[in-house]
Amino acid sequence: MIWQNDNQQSITVAVSGSGGSGALTAGFILLAAAQRCGRYGLMMRSAGPQVRGGESVAILRIGPSTVTNIGDRVDLLAALDWRNIERFQDELALDANSLVLHDNAAGAVPSGIAASGAEQRPIDFGRRAAEHNGGRANMIAVGVLGGEMGLPLQALLDATDAVLGKKAPAAVDAAKACIATGHGGTTAGQTEREPSTAPAAAKRWRLSGNAAAGLGALRAEVGFIAAYPITPASEMLEWLAPRLERAGGTLLQAEDELAAVNMLIGASFGGVPAVTATSGPGLSLMTEGIGLAVASETPILVVDVARGGPSTGLPTKSEQADLNQALYGLHGDAPHLVLAPLDVGDCAFTVEWGSRLAERLQTAAILLSDQALGQTHAVIDPPPRCPPVLGRKGVSATSAQALTDNAIDSATDRAIDSAKPANAFARYAPSADGISPMPSPGIPGFEYTADGLAHNAQGTPSSSASDHREQLSKLMHKLTAHDYGDAWARIDRGQLADEPADSMISLLTWGSSWGAVQEATTRLREQGAQVQSIGLRLLAPLQHDQLSRAIAGTQVLVVEINATGQLFRYLNAERVLPPSARSFARPGPLPLRPAEVIAQLRLQRPQPDADENQAGGGDEHAGESLQAADVGGGY
């Protein structure tokens, strides 16, 4: 059954157990072992409501090429015990082709699991662990699963050192002994189903999306972080705390999110690129501050590792439902950047890009990660650096000479943009690209006061209509005039010619849904369909013309994990979708599966008497009938 999950030759395994059973540790060792033998993989985890020590499940998918989502189903489940297993029923997705390894000593297979029709194979995890001094059932499971997955024993043992490294040597030895026992007992272990080893040069990284986001901040030369802990964003901050210090920078734990975002603005005003991370409730508290960053033209990046909403919502589970707030959540017209990474590794790329764009454009950037990216651990190829972006447009501070000359240039682009006026420096002077030079405190001759009140070019508060218009259009223009290059989206056109055929389907998505959508694309193509997938990385400003060109003439399905079709509505607001475009949106917290997307396309084959004109007068209700739950009407 293994390697047959799909044409990608991947396998999905799960380890479940009650508090203290070590299901997650088992998962981490398997993932690290996959990394060690040139495979790719990812691991999601799910836990019950207990703060600590409750039941939990690790679900891993491992494959020979990049694994971007958890797949449709679980091939193999190792159940260490059955405590509260029904909580994970939906996540586990067992079926008649699955195999369940369980310990008879833990009781009968629960009816919910049995109902899946999965093959049941009792393995006495507990008894075999007891053979080793300090041995534990979860390590027997690692051995068994590793064998079934074709992971060589040595890789498992090395991975054990890497994962348990900080534990007492005796515990590590006991774990290794159990793993060997488990591995030896599997047929797979004996039939030498070793995966093809990847080229030695191709190093794989193992990290979570939160760590990748932290890495992106380091790559962007961020020098200041202030944040308030919140699930599921805290790990990004915890990853960064020691590393930012090594790279050179300051991290502050703020008293709340209001403080955090304003601290960022202070540091950035001081010339130091600044980032924070939060989740929905914190993002709500930051909106006033983000608006100040926009109006005062002080660059900041806010990473939202989204969880299920509304309100306190589902703190440990994922949903893509903060898009509305990220796009539209500021009072007044407050143009800013919104970006979203498309997979775990892309968190590094997109955070770096987002921070650099914010710096260049002197604005706030909101980056939408989510729990499904942030808390997923993956084995990936090292993610690329973001495209080059010019740095903050500054003023020359090197010499008194520069000041006598009143010359202003930028450390990075050398353009002379403005001259120091006799009186006050015109911090907000209009310019061709909408970007005004931004001196940092400490530079003589350019003293200015930043302001969140409507202001004139000098930054002096002004309520005149003309100043307001001038500054507003400067804020908008600098964002739209910038050339974002090709990174605005990932487009997978497969082997198709440049001009798409009329019968082509475009699967349009964003953020963590990309993986499943892209896999659906591949599978559909293999079934002969003409499909392309587009994952938007830059959500605002929308790259209207590029997107139009990319989807021109195709049938568009917009895929996302939220109840109201937030991306679909946004693209309609921007008038970029054809009237025939449809929405597939459903709430979280379950991760999107490729098969769901494929099933939607089946559902969406043009039906002659469809809902095209059901409402009066030429309007279109398209998409609404296709969404999960009753999401008609207008929110």
Binding site: A162, K203, W205, R206, A211, L215, L218, R219, E221, F224, A226, P242, R243, L244, E245, R246, A247, G248, G249, T250, L251, L252, Q253, E255, L258, A259, A260, N262, M263, L264, I265, G266, A267, S268, F269, G270, G271, V272, A274, E288, G289, L292, P382, N423, A424, P441, G442, I443, P444, G445, F446, E447, Y448, T449, A450, D451, G452, G459, T460, P461
Partner: protein, 294 residues
């Protein structure tokens, strides 16, 4: 420790050419003038100074100076100033604002800035009213003040005691000044700027427009705050009665005593959870990336 007479000669050099929007007779004029005097006395170059404020009449100060400045959000001057100082310890960072800005909406940041005891000077121009929004009660308004339409019977709530809260929260320097005494005030501000920790200067700064009668009495009522016994020991709560200014602050403060109310050495070394210099950023990044292979 007390600075000599402050020469007012170059104070005006710190003023921008933006005309204050303040009502004639507003106390905040005196504070602005005292601040420029203090800066001149300290001979701080204006480009090395950043003045950060929230929103309110009092919070307009930054634009009236020609230092670097930030006129931020209502209530958020302190976090903005904290972020700036943490990222740029080389700058002299001064936060200014009002009693509404600092003690009502900004109360949490006040608490935590005192605790953090970061090297900032925070000047609150307390007129016991919201001037900018046209005369509502602030936390420092007496409970029986009935002139605001929003609280026609008075707030009924005892006035907030900024110095006591600052003390309990851990500020290492607390002083009180009066806007009608710009010389005394400028001395206090200068000392606050020199103090290497969180220095809170509570300034009685009358609102001519919304508290005309109530606050004209301040001129008669203010008095020196006991002697300036300066202790470098710990703060009041751990100090036996009678031994320090801190205790005086608890037992003798009527809210009108002027001078330095409390001054101790800063209690901690750092304000940041982690902070590092940057010898070779790329090398550090490479090493961090290499760890991801393990």
């Amino acid at each position: 420790m007390a600075p000599a007479m402050i020469p007012s000669l170059r104070a005006r050099d710190y003023l921008s050419d933006v005309k204050p929007i303040w009502c004639p007779g507003c106390g905040h004029f005196g504070v602005l003038s005292a601040l420029t005097k203090a800066l001149a006395y300290l001979e701080r170059p204006k480009h090395e100074i950043a003045v950060i404020s929230g929103i309110g009449c009092s919070s307009r100060v930054p634009a009236y100076l020609n230092c670097y400045g930030f006129h931020g959000l209502h209530g958020r001057a302190l976090p903005l100033a904290t972020g700036l100082k943490a990222a740029r310890p080389d700058l002299t960072v001064i936060a200014t604002g009002g009693d509404g800005d600092g003690f009502s909406i900004g109360g949490n940041h006040f608490l935590h800035a005192c605790r953090r005891d970061i090297d900032l000077c925070y000047i609150v121009m307390d007129n016991a009213v919201y001037g900018m929004t046209k005369g509502q009660a602030s936390p420092t308004t007496p409970p029986d003040w009935t002139q605001s339409a929003l609280t026609p019977h008075g707030t009924g709530i005892p006035a907030f005691r900024p110095a006591a809260i600052a003390l309990a929260s851990g500020a290492s320097f607390i002083a009180r000044g009066f806007s009608a005494d710009p010389h005394g005030l400028s001395e206090l501000i200068a000392r606050a700027i020199l103090h290497p920790g969180f220095a809170f200067v509570h300034v009685l700064s009358p609102c001519r427009t919304y508290r005309p009668d109530d606050q004209s009495s301040w001129k008669q009522a203010v008095h020196p705050f006991g002697e300036h016994i300066l202790s470098t020991a710990e703060t009041a709560v751990d100090t036996p009665p009678g031994a320090s200014t801190s205790t005086k602050l608890h037992v003798q403060d009527d809210g009108l005593g002027l001078g330095v109310l409390h001054e101790v050495a800063r209690s901690q070394a750092s304000t940041s959870a982690t902070a590092g210099a940057n010898p070779d950023r790329q090398a550090a990044l490479d090493a961090i990336e290499a760890e991801l292979e393990a």
